[in-house]
Symmetry: C2
Subunit: 232 residues, 2 copies
DNA sequence: CGGGCTTTGTGAACGTGTGCACGAATGCCT
DNA sequence: AGGCATTCGTGCACACGTTCACAAAGCCCG
């Protein structure tokens, strides 16, 4: 069995869809469904059925032709592949607006990512309690990471403090970072970073809205889809 | 997705990077930089220089060979292409943990997306004030969307309420949705939806962590991995 | 027990995105 | 003015991702 069985690298695009399948399969299991076709799963996930089959094929051949996939077994296999067979404690840097919301959001721990700690540079915030976790000073970060065996850090600071937060996380031994700040973090190659940027998402939507608006403007008259005037 | 073939369509990948360039260019402008090379911009954005040039070329040829791009002009062009020449008021559905954080997050309005309203189904939440905006009942959604000319809606409800929220937004006339719930929303073709899913992001990081771990762990058996037979 | 129906798994075609390499254009220096 | 150093704009090749289409593999029923 050595290292080669657990070998195949799974394409990024597939990895990003597996969590979606996983959630849907969990819901189906709760509803008593114990077998599901790629077609049905695709419908629920909002994707193409062939894509579902190809994605699942990277996990191995766990389907039964003419029947479909056994829900429970598939859940197990996806969880195993995603490394969800055990908890991954996370540490949140930044106890501001967002940090508070994240710490308070229960679904965190439920899904296997318990909040091992929340830290902030601001002494005024240290000591307060968020979602059952006391905010500690950022200097305690290394200790938290070490004792709680944290691999994943969350950057929930203002943009100007994000790089420092990331540096401290890396120095403390974290190897994956979820970044909510509107900044491109500079980190060593080996560190995995994912960015969630509200402003970027809204601006992408803005692009599409603007596009629709300029299409309508050509064909019809005032469609009413034109938003308020610009501010200098 | 849609099969429009209008003027120059900008590739999705490029659209998702333009906001990043835009933010960086804004920062550079603030620092007094008025000319920038694709190389430098690429470095700051964490991407390849050729990619920057190709991305910018979709906007037109606004660079000067041998010199670079004029920061101010580039900012203007990107803003125009992204439809950021005017504000896009947004309405937030769900005044829970996340909705509160979003409404309270000032950077929203600053970036051209003022919060036109926050609504919730829960009467207990209606009336309270979040980030300067009073929470109103969700039945008022159509009126808010109409009077404030809202095109973009934000779904910040628990998963089980997200589809209903989306349906109401669409019915009210919203044509773009930013979805924070862990659900795949079913909406008409013409509606643009972008999903921000915390759980998915963490699970993707988990995958990579698990991967690193299994590479290093050529020693010892799998710790605690207890496979189950497929038999039900 | 064989024929028919269903659904998987995957080869192949097609589309999208990335990065190199280089010609073309421009400013600067002598 | 002419040559040189830059840096843009883009053709091209390759990698990655998506979708189609169909043989293979299973179940069910008569």
């Amino acid at each position: 069995m050595s290292a080669d069985r657990n070998r195949r690298r799974i394409p990024d695009a597939t990895v990003s869809r597996l969590p979606v399948y996983l959630r849907i399969l969990g819901e189906q299991a709760d509803e008593g469904v114990d077998s599901i076709s790629s077609e049905r799963l695709a419908e629920l996930a909002g994707v193409n059925a062939a894509k579902v089959r190809k994605d699942l094929s990277y996990l191995g051949s766990y389907g039964t032709r003419g029947v479909g996939y056994e829900v429970g077994y598939l859940v197990y296999q996806i969880r195993r592949e995603l490394g969800l067979t055990h908890d991954w404690p996370v540490v949140i840097v930044g106890a501001g607006n967002l940090g508070q919301a994240l710490a308070g959001y229960g679904g965190f721990g439920e899904r296997g990512f318990p909040v091992a700690g929340v830290v902030d540079v601001d002494d005024a915030k240290v000591g307060s309690v968020l979602g059952g976790v006391r905010v500690r000073h950022i200097d305690e970060l290394p200790q938290i990471v070490r004792t709680k065996r944290v691999n994943i850090g969350v950057v929930a600071t203002p943009a100007h403090a994000a790089q420092d937060a990331a540096d401290r996380l890396v120095a403390a031994g974290v190897t994956s970072i979820l970044n909510f700040a509107s900044v491109v973090l500079a980190v060593p190659r080996a560190i995995e970073v994912r960015k969630v940027d509200l402003a970027v998402e809204l601006q992408i939507l803005s692009y599409h809205e603007q596009r629709k608006a300029s299409l309508h403007a050509v064909s019809g008259g005032a469609a009413g889809a034109v938003p308020r005037p610009a501010s200098a």
